[in-house]
């Protein structure tokens, strides 16, 4: 079934189906159905929907067999977020070869014009004897965010769906949040960002960080709510040629990578001994890392791309 899915691009599981909120229980029920009757799902005129069961199996189900929860867009509030969602990301360090496609895609799509990329790929080595590895690092969207705690004007805030955002119309530019963030993911617009007409014509919303960016305020990775809203993946996830990133929902216990493969989050973290950065600080990040063991790539390959003193290609929005 998994193969089936990979072959057919169109039927690829829409990451977040706007109209349908699919009950996991209903899905589990349909697994049984599918097993008993063994029917081909594309057959018949009725529309099918792809689902993942609690044990991580993917299947197509007739849409008449699932219960849909009505449209929830109506009272969407950027400070509250998507109801009943809790976004998570998994970064597989065993696959990262410092291709930097995530960074350039993020820079491009957020119209980043300075040297301050929001996603950085660090060359890490925990101690002399252990092997070096590449660590893509973006905002960890902590559940106990130190940045939110210290913001004096509630400009940076935590949403119910787990995303930490910044209201650039309110930020006073004190940079306390930057001092508070142990992951150094926050960047500051030290000067006018000069993003060009295209970015400047987009109406501002905290949902789409940095567009348009404002001088004297803080920006950072926003987990791309503007993409989620369209039912698509964050830019870094879809840009990575090596499927390093998987993005998904903690409540659904599912994450999906850039090629559309889905995994059961809890199983993935268990099997691969997933961990979070600086767990000891109690920040409770929403980003999990899979250790760089049994690597499918060569660390050295990434060295060509490694620029200690330079950020990658900037946005062409200028």
């Amino acid at each position: 079934m998994q193969n089936n899915l990979e072959n057919d691009n169109k039927s690829r599981r829409k990451f977040l189906d706007k109209g349908l909120k699919i009950g996991v229980l209903a899905a589990a029920g349909s697994v049984a159905l599918a097993k008993v009757f063994g029917y081909r799902l594309d057959e018949g005129a009725e529309e099918t929907v792809e689902l993942m069961s609690t044990d991580g199996t993917l299947m197509q189900v007739l849409s008449s067999q699932i219960e849909s929860v009505p449209e929830k867009k109506i009272d969407y509030n950027p400070r509250e977020g998507f109801p009943n969602r809790k976004f998570v990301m998994v970064v597989d360090l065993a696959k990262c070869r410092n291709a930097k496609k995530c960074q350039s895609s993020c820079n491009k799509n957020h119209y980043i014009t300075g040297d301050n990329a929001w996603i950085k790929i660090y060359k890490m080595q925990d101690n002399e004897k252990s092997a070096p590895y590449w660590q893509p690092t973006l905002c960890q969207h902590c559940d106990e965010p130190p940045c939110v705690k210290v913001c004096p004007v509630d400009a940076t805030f935590k949403r119910r769906d787990g995303i930490v955002l910044i209201d650039n119309n309110r930020c006073i530019g004190c940079r306390f949040c930057m001092a508070a963030c142990p992951y150094s993911v926050r960047i500051f617009n030290w000067s006018d960002p000069w993003q060009g007409e295209k970015a400047e014509s987009i109406p501002y919303s905290p949902d789409y960080s940095g567009v348009p960016a404002q001088k004297g305020t803080v920006d950072k990775c926003d987990f791309c709510p503007h993409m989620i809203d369209k039912g698509e993946m964050p830019h870094c996830v879809s840009a990575c040629p090596n499927d390093v990133f998987s993005f998904g929902d903690l409540y659904e216990d599912t994450v999906t990578n850039g090629s559309g493969q889905s995994f059961q989050l809890s199983k993935l973290l268990k099997d691969r001994a997933g961990y979070r950065l600086m767990e000891n600080l109690g920040t409770a990040p929403s980003v999990y890392y899979l250790p760089p063991s049994n690597r499918v790539i060569d660390f050295e390959e990434g060295l060509d791309n490694y620029t200690e003193f330079k950020s990658v290609e900037k946005s062409e929005g200028i």
């Binding site: 006073i172 004297g216 003193f309």
Partner: protein, 436 residues
Amino acid sequence: MSTDFDQLVYDLAPRKFSWKGNLWVAILVVIILVGSYSYVQQVRQGLVITDMRDYALWGVYISNFVFFVAISLVGSLITAILRLSGIKWSTPLTRIAEIIAVAAIIMAGVTIIIDMGRPDRMLNLFMHGRLQSPIIWDVIVITTYLVISVLLLYYPLLPDFSILKRHAPESARVRKWYSGLSLNWVGNSEQRRIYSRSIKALSILIIPVAFAIHTVTAWLFETTYRPGWDSTNFGPYFIAGAFVAGAGAVVAVMYVLRKTYRLENYITDFHFNKMGKTLVLLCLIYLYFNINEYLIPTYKSTEEEAVHLQSLFTGQYATLFWTAIIGGLVLPVIILLFPQGRKPLPLFLVSIAVVVGAWWKRYIIVVPTLSHPFLPIQGVPESWRHYSPTWMEWSITFATLAAALLIITLLVRFLPIIPIHETSEERGLVDAAQTK
């Protein structure tokens, strides 16, 4: 009797500046104008005119802010703590201390606005302020401290204004001001009762608020995880350091005023001796906190702390660090232990060293920590790894220091630097004009 009183008023009443005073004011104004030019550029172009970047996200503005807060604490030390503990010798120093405190706390507020990326949104602090942020605590305690400090400067001035409205060698217009400001003080027993009660109340009130402003300022750093700031010692450490800086500032200002106004009869060697001893005590307390602050993390040497401490002890910041510790703390203690060192001139020089050392100490506390984040600094321009203030940043910083001095100077121009009323009472002198 009345001639003695007249002499006292003549000695202590504010006077017009000589050419030296005017030149001094002119120099300060020029420095402020240069800084204002830079600030206009900063508002136009953004904080990009500074050398701060994403890693060194705070710089000389914030360390200057901490310095001003530190200096302002002296008001509570001299006026409140010494006054409440019944120490009489500090009377001629109280007004100097209060003037310094008011000037410093005003400039602390201004400096923090200068550091903001969006000063135009300052009102958000009041409209959207959230109590869980230490910045909001700072806003609350600093405004409270400013109000109490101004009152503590103003109340003891009431009888002096009343004396000045009759005796000041000023134009009718200035006298009118004095008259208005004296709030009809005539010195009857009812007024005296309210007067001494409110001063006492303010003196008590200002102590916890003073502790609060500097403790909260310490918490701005302490509430983060960063090595060098992640310390439970910071509150008392900052307060101890503040008293050192403030006492140094008082000594420096009182020396200059004594010279220019020929106040040798009022501010005597005895006062310098006493202030010298106070300074030794304060320096020793501060040294004790410094040992706690640096020795224990060095002993443990966790990975992050070790990198940070190495940069202070032997690395990039070593010269500054040791100069501030030895020149601004250890040497002053040694010099001031000798009675010769507590004579006015040597004490003045020591106090300058203490104040300058205190300024750099704040820089050492704020800046180095930021170049040692938990994750490595990679993929950013090389220059972002270091921070050294640009000339525009310096000019703005110097302008704030000059503005503090200008506030002090203007207050000295129009206020009696030594309380006339209190001194006359202590000396048993009566205002003949009033008793008539």
